[in-house]
């Protein structure tokens, strides 16, 4: 059976890598869609092999701010079902009274779980910002509106380790297809992209930054309005900038 599939299995390897293209990709996808269990299993096995490759590597840790952002984004809707409580449990009739008490306790547990899950990521972010503020190597730099947004204001906490946090206010949300890019500028060096920042309907936003440490002291901090994806060098108008020291 496998021999009859030699051609498809060859394609399956490259498909699992994501490198199959053109007519070969269309043909292979049609073959999979036809319900070939052999090729489906083969692709799945190849992907699992590639996953094991990941496990053997050193892993990078994301900033705690990301988890906070995700939980903010999913905040609307969704119910809380603690892991233990979600397991099916058998109840006996004579345990009704005990069950009522247990339900009360479960209510407390559910509420606690909700607050833990909802606010723990945000707590991590606040902790990271407080740690920044406590560090004597952290600078607190004011940013002022420029160009099209003279009323905008910002506050940039910047540590020489490359970690920072930027708060902005009075900065209108970026138009469709545009983003606000955050740059650090050291003397005799080109601007370095360190993050993008979004603002809400009130013009407020914040971003936690984990950039590579700079070997030169940062002289200027700036935010520009750029086409989405622009990170090589600023091309658009400056909307916030620090006073040069």
């Amino acid at each position: 059976m496998a021999t009859a599939h030699e051609h498809w299995l060859e394609q399956g390897d490259i498909y699992a890598l994501g490198a199959l293209d053109g007519q070969e990709l269309k043909d292979f996808e049609a073959h999979l869609a036809s319900g070939c269990a052999i090729c489906e299993a083969y692709v799945r096995e190849t992907r699992e092999s590639l996953l094991l490759l990941h496990r053997a590597t050193t892993q990078f840790e994301p900033s705690p701010a990301v988890k906070a952002r995700i939980f903010d984004q999913i905040a609307d809707g969704g119910k809380v079902v603690p892991i233990g409580a979600a397991q099916p449990k058998r109840r006996r009739t004579w345990q009704r009274v005990v069950g009522t008490i247990a339900a009360g306790i479960a209510g407390v547990v559910i509420t606690a779980a909700y607050y833990h899950t909802r606010y723990e990521p945000r707590h991590s972010l606040y902790t990271a910002v407080i740690d920044l503020l406590r560090d004597p190597d952290t600078r607190d730099v004011a940013l002022y509106g420029a160009g099209p947004t003279p009323a905008a204001l910002g506050r940039f906490l910047w540590n020489k380790s490359g970690e920072g946090h930027l708060f902005v206010t009075n900065l209108p949300a970026a138009p469709e297809g545009k983003m606000y890019a955050v740059w650090t500028i050291a003397p005799q060096s080109p601007p370095r992209y360190v993050a993008s920042i979004r603002t809400d309907a009130r013009g407020q936003g914040g971003v936690h930054i984990n950039a590579a440490a700079s070997d030169k002291p940062i002289e200027t901090f700036a935010v520009t309005l750029e086409p989405v994806g622009t990170t090589a060098a600023p091309t658009g108008p400056m909307v916030l900038v620090s006073k040069q020291s």
Binding site: A16, V80, G229
Partner: protein
């Protein structure tokens, strides 16, 4: 029941029921895996974090689509991450291609490229021994496909090699990888 004793399969079932606690645990377990992949593919930390956010929001919304028959939850999540990262890489390449003729050559020395190089070096240092054990030519095509999101045709053009040669190297690399993974598992 301790957090570690709960299987990712069970967690994802609970996420499908909009269970935030399960989602939090799934994130804690899988985010380093996804973020490491994103760092290697996108090179810029903030972009990798944006991707991580997009992936887990998609996991939250589409967990009910997951089926164990498709493979492990980790493989399902990694597949989402790779697809999104490849889309971003291809979008960036299209922008670069349309930008390069009018671009200032001085930008080639921009700090972002310096940052990219640094992240690249960091990523390369972390490359698994399994990849290092592959012959250079095979390792190169595997990296270009898996971490840079290039198709077989793009790799052939990049390396100036016949498409057939690229395919052979890719398949040999994967077969070798399977052997290495089996040996590691044994």
């Amino acid at each position: 029941m301790s957090a570690q004793s709960i299987s990712p399969g069970y967690l994802i079932q609970q996420v499908a029921q909009q269970d935030r606690e399960a989602f939090s645990q799934l994130y804690d377990r899988c985010s380093p895996l996804v973020f490491s992949l994103a760092m290697r593919m996108l090179k810029v930390r903030s972009d990798a974090e944006d991707l991580l956010q997009e992936v887990f929001v998609q996991v939250w919304r589409q967990a009910s689509n997951y089926s164990a028959e498709r493979g492990s939850p980790e493989a399902w999540i990694i597949n989402i991450a790779r697809s999104r990262a490849i889309d971003k890489l291809r979008s960036i390449r299209r922008m670069e291609q349309s930008f390069v003729l009018t671009d200032d050559p001085a930008r080639a020395e921009s700090s972002d490229n310096v940052e990219t190089s640094a992240a690249e070096s960091e990523a390369k240092m972390a490359m698994s021994s399994a990849l290092v054990n592959l012959p250079e030519a095979q390792r190169r095509v595997l990296e270009l496909a898996y971490f840079d999101g290039l198709t077989q045709t793009e790799i052939a053009a990049r390396l100036k090699e016949p498409l057939g040669t690229v395919k052979t190297r890719m398949r040999s690399a994967i077969q070798r990888l399977r052997e290495i993974v089996r040996m590691q598992a044994a």
